[in-house]
Symmetry: C2
Subunit: 148 residues, 2 copies
């Protein structure tokens, strides 16, 4: 992927600007791959993400603030995101008996079954996205990402 070629410019871009633009271009590609992979499962990346968190709870219910805290991309409306999962029957929501301000969200059996399929699709997408990287380069990437 050549930056100058993709955005069709013939001028040279300062290294810092170029790095940011380059990053954004990669981001577009990754998003495309992932949403394409999850499309047959009929969930968004965010929904997939929340399901994974719920599964990680191992039965222990999660409330909205916990979900928000653990989400990769925080968004201002976790309520409505969970609404979608309820509508699909992938999650269950009830008010917390000990503190009725809170809410208890769990993944359903169906949610777990579907999540397995999503995992598969996601793994394939990850392999496609990172197909040109060897182990050492991936580690290098992670080290560099730590500096952000």
């Amino acid at each position: 992927m050549n930056v100058e070629e993709v955005i069709k410019t013939d001028r040279s871009i300062p290294l810092k600007s170029r790095t940011i633009i380059h990053f954004m271009l990669v981001n577009n590609k990754i998003n495309e791959e992932i949403s394409m992979a999850l499309k047959p499962c009929d969930v968004s990346v965010q929904q997939f993400n929340v399901l994974r968190i719920l599964r990680g709870q191992k039965g222990k219910p999660a409330n909205l603030s916990t979900l928000n805290e653990r989400m990769v991309t925080k968004m201002s409306n976790t309520t409505r995101l969970v609404d979608k999962l309820l509508a699909k029957g992938y999650a269950d929501r009830k008010t917390c008996p000990s503190n009725r301000r809170k809410v208890e969200i769990t993944i359903t059996k169906l949610g777990e079954v579907e999540l397995k399929k999503m995992d598969l699709a996601m793994n394939q997408a990850e392999r496609r996205i990172l197909q040109n990287f060897d182990q050492k380069e991936l580690e290098q990437l992670n080290i560099l990402f730590n500096k952000f």
Copy 2:
């Protein structure tokens, strides 16, 4: 930035998955910085991007498909994006005389003045985002990004 800490998990994540999640976390941070930087200028990243392209045309008008082609993040509605720039008086739009299907978009004097301010804000954001990187690391990043 430690992935496991940010998403609050205690399990170890496979390297490929970790890389993707790490990337997304960095993306969030970059987006936050940039939209914060551009907020006082009252434009979105996309609008800023289009203004830069228009300036790059050096007077030569651009049509919508050209803009779309050169935008870092392609989006399905360049018409309405340009509408916003017109409303702010940053751009000008007229139908192309030689081919009335096309449209000629140019940056206005005011647009150029404001874009200068945005450049400044953007440069500061870029410096903040990349403050922990030295020249060599930036080059390394760009090389690795090429592999996506």
